[in-house]
């Protein structure tokens, strides 16, 4: 009880801090210096129609590399944590039958979902979306497969290989930017092309595809690890 009261008091105090922030907030009328630069320079410099993508993949590419690494790390550690608890092959009780609807539906939907995922990350520089979103869509396809067949065995090695190759290629492209263009993760190692075309924005589609593959692989690996845990 005392604990609740203390927590409540602290949360209210935080609320007071937040309230001050809220009260002092006034939306900008014009873009600030940084945002204005992006608005003006993205098209000529980066060649990406989606400015957010330009920021994510190029201007703040290091963040994104870090972000990919966060996912990689989480997937790896989830694998590590759950490694001890995996007793899959040995005498498991038969799974609950999943039903005709799910099985058939998944056979139909999974390829479409995968396709959508690929579409989303390949077009990341043109439309809302990108590697993370696309990767998540791909992984949702994997989730559907797992739901339809809980005993389905995913090759961890395959997932790991996709993940590794994509990640390594990402770093290599970053270093190529350093060697061939203006700096680490510079996308101008490939021609910028015409604004709005699929093959434009230099290395961005390539990077986003790699990110998509990698994120898809990582989510899938996490899902697979979690699904293979012993039921408690």
């Amino acid at each position: 009880m005392i604990r609740r009261a203390v927590v409540l008091a602290l949360v209210l105090a935080m609320g007071a801090i937040f309230a001050t922030l809220l009260a002092g907030y006034a939306p900008d009328g014009d873009l600030n210096l940084t945002a204005r630069y992006y608005a003006d320079r993205t098209a000529p410099d980066i060649g990406s129609a989606n400015i957010v993508t330009a920021i994510i993949v190029t201007y703040r590419g290091l963040d994104t590399l870090g972000e990919v690494t966060v996912l990689f790390l989480s997937a790896t550690i989830v694998g590590l944590v759950l490694a001890g608890g995996r007793r899959r092959e040995t005498a498991q009780r038969p799974p609950v039958p999943v039903g005709e609807l799910l099985t058939t539906g998944s056979r139909f939907l999974v390829p479409l979902i995968m396709l959508l995922g690929v579409y989303v990350f390949v077009n990341g520089h043109l439309t809302p979306g990108g590697g993370f979103q696309g990767g998540a869509v791909v992984a949702s396809g994997v989730l559907l497969m797992l739901l339809a067949d809980p005993l389905k065995h995913f090759s961890h090695r395959l997932i790991a290989a996709v993940e590794s190759v994509a990640g390594f290629a990402y770093v290599v492209i970053g270093v190529l930017g350093l060697v061939l263009a203006g700096g680490f993760l510079d996308n101008r190692i490939l021609p910028l092309g015409e604004l709005g075309a699929l093959a434009s924005a230099g290395a961005i589609p390539l990077i986003y595809s790699l990110v998509g593959l990698k994120v898809g692989a990582e989510f899938s690996s996490m899902l697979a690890s979690l699904s293979e845990t012993e039921e408690l």
Partner: protein
């Protein structure tokens, strides 16, 4: 030069590549990991070299081919290069140290280790606030993963607690970042700092709040006290090699992040950093006191050290250009030492502090352990020492005395628990299980120890170049002492010869440089030391550890004499303190006594440090704060600072001379030391304190505080010390303790003489310096020799040894005659000068006290001869032989010396007497031939010697004549017939010999002082023991602590 971005790229590429390997190819994966870490280390080392040696300017690394603030940029300067070096090197060595765990968990764990290293490096390199957040999250998540390396099951819960706190931290940080972005329009840290200058008043408050949230989030990563329970749990349960990374690399990275963020906040936030830092430093050190688990203790110490460095960062406004020197010095010392200690801890099987006794028998590991402790405590010649000195100097100059006091208090507590641990290691029973000497671990530890010394050299060099202080590691005496570390494989007698040759040789080379006063101390320190070392020839084997410690002490004393400025003096003071601590600790039962010696000595040293710092701040000459401050300039310290400086220095020096109230360390430390160590620490080391007092009084003279004459107070302290020291001595049963208490009394006399502040008083103090050296060394040696033969130090268990150990008997006889101040020996000369001095001064009451203590000294001295050498020989002692030759030899030298000094005291005193004319022109003695005269009479040593000799011979011959037919009493004197008493010694005549006096005067020797200090330590311990229950172990509570901490700082900051 390879771009620093490859530090990050290499780690990532390697981490991703590991995924391509088969799970079974763990050896390959491990090799790739090591290679990547080595590559990262090499890049950082390369940059460090470029900045440090070639003075290159810092380099900005742009990403995305766009300039900041529009794209993320990284920066490498000297600080960044050094920090990435320490991070990647720690990771590399830790990878070696936890080879087994990494191989057991496989490539995934290695990938996580690589990412953790990268994340810490990224935190250091990036100049973008959101990028900083990303790297922090990477660090947090990888910490969550690497905790699994531990074979301690509790680590899992610790990891979860950490993740909870990370969540709270990231919420604070993100909200802070987005509002700071809104207020400044940029995410670049430097851009934000620029924009913060020109924020409109309307959005100022929002920006300040946003900054507050970011600041608190990053500060929370520093594990501030008391919102740090989660970190302690990690330190305790993680794999020690990971704890090394977490402490060394993680701490360094988070501190640098806070440092960068403080750029944005500006000077307004420095007090907050200082406050949080110093509370953490003191609080964590206090709570570390009752810890018994080694890794948790190290955790507390880590937290404390980081707090100290945060304090330093918060003092940037006054430290100015020195901030880097001080902060980096402390940080590197902490990182190297903490990493080394964690690696050491993985060698030790038990988690109790005393389980570290397993290290005994591995001299290299003990050496590394001692190195790490000295690094942490900031003893010379390590970087922390230089940092401590500059910090104290600047803080005092700026009048931030309270902060300085808090820092020194915290440092003293830290030294206490660290060296207590060292004492356990050296003295406690060795556990059954030996240490696990994995090669990777040993390599890591050795690299850390060597790095510690290299850092010491580098910081000394920097101090020399920037501030004009000498590099301590270039000081010849210190190098000579350290050389013995490399000679440990030689047999003891070879080392002993080298040591004696070194002392005598150095004396011969340099003695011409000193004025007579310093020369007397110099002779006692070096030549006196060499004579006592003769006794060390009796030791067999290699005697590992003795010579480095002893020579360190002598080096310190030599440097003390050589010092001309306060820095050199203080450095020497600490060196001799450490050396003598290691030396005292060698005694069989000296563990608690060595500790109390060290604590008192360091406490005294800190007072001296504060005194010197304060003196430099108030000097009228030159610019304040002064860089160097000559000892002689102490005379120019102006009012109202002067009396305070005097007070601090006097108390500091009086801890070393064991003035009453500060004396409780002495009896144990001197009595429990080894046979040849007791005379060193009693005969020689005590004089260092007197030397300090001489220097102090010579330059500062009489000082008044609130109308009280401080020298008058000292006079009283001296008198009471003499009286009580002697009184306590008479009730001792232990011969060496008796001598130790007697030293307290003797130092009281010397203090009294000094405080008289007249010519003869000082002369008498000097006389005591010489006399006390000779007879106390001699007595400790002969009593030590007896104790060695009889196997006991209790006097009532001895008796009748006169025939078996005649030479020891002669030494003791001469010694007590000299000491009690009766004619004809030099003690009488001392007394004679003394009484002349008293007659000259106007203080009557303390005089009475000091007169009283004279006869008391006689009482205990009498016991030495009477109980040990006379009376009945004990049955079990019938076959005893004289003490070993090498222990007797120096005693005989002393006998000759005493006789010589008694006959011609002028050889030493005459020149000093003249020298003192510059301080006290009047009141000197007249030296005509061998005759010495004062206004009150004259003293002819030769005549006295002849007269006393005649009387003695007459009586002796008469006694022989009268007793020629005397029969010896046979020894069947059974005092108890039918019953064996419960405590046999109670029936011995010599036991509780002075019981009647005890009845009368016992109240004076009640251990009030011991009780007083005991009560203080108990209060601290119990207080800390109760306070630490605050860390309930519940992860949720820890998160509440963190939130409460944020709110408390917020309210506090608003209040200001």
């Amino acid at each position: 030069m390879v771009s620093a971005i490859f530090i990050l790229a290499a780690a990532l590429a390697a981490a991703f590549l590991l995924g391509l390997l088969k799970d079974e190819q763990r050896g390959v994966a491990y090799a790739i990991t090591l290679l990547a870490l080595a590559f990262m280390t090499w890049i950082s080392a390369d940059w460090t070299w470029a900045f440090a040696m070639d003075g290159a300017a810092s380099v900005d690394i742009f990403t995305a081919g766009t300039e900041p603030p529009f794209a993320i940029n990284l920066r490498v300067g000297l600080a960044e290069a050094v920090l990435t070096l320490i991070i990647s090197l720690t990771a590399l060595l830790s990878a070696l140290a936890m080879k087994d765990a990494l191989l057991a968990l496989g490539r995934r764990a290695m990938a996580v280790l690589l990412v953790a290293t990268l994340a810490f490096c990224g935190i250091v390199l990036t100049r973008d606030i959101f990028n900083l957040f990303v790297f922090f999250e990477l660090a947090a998540i990888s910490t969550g993963g690497l905790i699994l390396l531990s074979d301690d099951e509790r680590a899992l819960a610790a990891g979860f607690k950490y993740l909870i706190v990370s969540q709270v931290i990231s919420i604070l940080l993100l909200i802070g970042i987005i509002f700071a972005y809104h207020a400044t329009g940029t995410l670049n840290i430097d851009g934000m700092a620029d924009a913060a200058q020109s924020i409109l008043p309307g959005s100022r408050q929002a920006f300040m709040l946003a900054f507050f949230l970011m600041f608190m989030a990053l500060v929370a990563e520093l594990k501030p006290f008391p919102a740090n329970g989660w970190a302690l749990d990690i330190y305790e349960s993680a794999h020690p090699a990971y704890s090394a990374i977490f402490s060394a690399a993680g701490g360094a990275a988070a501190l640098y992040a806070v440092d960068k963020l403080l750029l944005v906040g500006g000077t307004a936030w420095l007090p907050a950093a200082t406050g949080i830092g110093v509370v953490t430093f003191v609080g964590a050190n206090l709570l570390a006191l009752p810890q018994t688990n080694d890794r948790r203790l190290l955790g507390y110490s880590s937290v404390a050290q980081i707090g100290l460095i945060l304090t330093v960062l918060g003092q940037r406004d006054v430290l100015g250009d020195l901030t880097g020197f001080v902060a980096l010095g402390l940080l590197l010392a902490h990182s190297v030492a903490k990493a080394g200690l964690y690696w050491l801890s993985s060698l030790v099987a038990g988690r109790e502090l005393s389980a570290w006794a397993a290290l005994r028998g591995h001299p290299l590991m003990i050496f590394a352990f001692a190195t790490f402790l000295c690094l942490l405590v900031g003893l010379p010649p390590f970087p922390g020492f230089y940092a401590k000195w500059e910090l104290a100097r600047v803080l005092a100059a700026e009048g931030r005395i309270a902060l300085l006091a808090l820092i020194l208090f915290g440092a003293l507590i830290e030294a206490t628990y660290l060296f207590r641990w060292f004492g356990y290691t050296i003295k406690r029973d060795k556990p059954a299980e030996d240490i696990a000497c994995a090669s990777g671990n040993v390599i890591a530890i050795c690299v850390a120890a060597v790095t510690g010394w290299v850092l010491g050299y580098l910081w000394g060099d920097a101090a020399n170049v920037m501030l004009g202080r000498g590099n301590l590691l270039l000081a010849l005496p210190l190098l000579f002492a350290l050389a013995f570390l490399l000679l440990e494989w030689l047999p003891a007698w070879t080392k002993n010869m080298l040591a004696i040759a070194g002392l005598v040789g150095y004396f011969a080379l340099t003695w011409g440089d000193y004025d007579p006063l310093r020369l007397i101390f110099f002779v006692i320190f070096l030549i006196g030391g060499a004579v006592i070392l003769l006794a060390s020839f009796h030791a067999h084997g290699r005697r590992v550890g003795f010579y480095p410690a002893a020579m360190l002490m002598y080096a310190g004393m030599t440097m003390l004499i050589e010092a001309t400025d306060t820095f050199g003096f203080f450095a020497a003071w600490e060196i001799l303190t450490v050396g003598s601590y290691f030396l005292i600790l060698r005694g069989k039962h000296s563990e608690p006594h060595a500790l109390s010696y060290l604590v008192f000595s360091l406490g005294g040293a800190f007072l001296i440090l504060a005194g010197f710092a304060l003196a430099a701040s108030g000097a009228p000459l030159g610019v304040s704060p002064r860089l160097t401050f000559a000892l002689s300039e102490l005379a120019q310290v102006a009012q109202p600072l002067a009396p305070w400086v005097f007070l601090l220095l006097a108390i500091g020096f009086m801890t070393k001379t064991a003035a009453i109230g500060l004396h409780i360390w002495l009896p144990g430390a001197h009595a429990e030391a080894e046979t040849d160590v007791s005379p060193m620490v009693s005969g020689i080391l005590l004089k260092a304190g007197l030397f300090g007092l001489f220097i102090l009084l010579m330059s500062m003279g009489k000082q008044q505080l609130y109308g009280i004459e401080l020298t008058y107070v000292m006079l009283w302290i001296g008198a009471i010390t003499a009286l009580l020291g002697n009184l306590m001595a008479i009730f001792q049963e232990d011969a060496k303790r008796l001598l130790a208490y007697s030293s307290i009394g003797q130092m009281g006399y010397a203090l009294f003489g000094l405080a008289l502040m007249n010519h003869l008083g000082w002369l008498m103090a000097l006389m005591f310096v010489i006399n006390h050296y000779i007879y106390k060394s001699m007595l400790f040696l002969s009593v030590g020799g007896v104790a060695k033969r009889t196997g006991t130090r209790a006097m009532y268990q001895m008796g009748g040894l006169i025939a078996l150990m005649p030479l020891s008997f002669i030494a003791v006889l001469i010694g007590i005659i000299a000491m009690s101040g009766v004619p004809p020996l030099s003690g009488f000369g001392g007394r004679w000068i003394f009484y002349n001095a008293i007659l000259e001064s106007e203080y009557r009451l303390p005089m009475v006290v000091i007169f009283l203590s004279g006869p008391i000294a006689f009482l205990y001295l009498f016991r030495l001869i009477h109980t040990i050498f006379l009376g009945q020989l004990k049955d079990e002692h019938r076959k005893l032989k004289e003490a070993p030759f090498w222990i007797v030899l120096p005693q005989m030298i002393y006998v000759v010396l005493l006789l010589a000094f008694a006959v011609v005291p002028g050889i030493a005193l005459r020149r000093v007497d003249e020298y003192m004319n510059q301080f006290f022109p009047t009141g000197g003695l007249n030296w005509s031939g061998l005759n010495i005269s004062s206004p009150y009479g004259y003293w002819d040593p030769i005549a006295i010697m002849i007269i006393v000799g005649c009387i003695f011979m007459t009586l002796f011959l008469w006694l022989l004549f009268v007793n020629r037919k005397a029969q010896k009493v046979k020894q069947f004197n059974i005092v108890f017939a039918a019953e064996r008493p419960y405590r046999p010694e109670t029936t011995h005549f010599a036991w509780n010999f002075f019981a009647p006096y005890r009845k009368a005067l016992g109240f004076l020797v009640q251990p009030f002082v011991t009780q007083f200090w005991g009560a203080i330590t108990d209060t601290l311990h119990t207080g800390a023991d109760i306070a630490r229950r605050f860390y309930t172990g519940n992860g949720q509570t820890y998160a509440i602590h963190l939130l409460g901490f944020v709110v408390a700082v917020y309210l506090f900051a608003r209040g200001i």
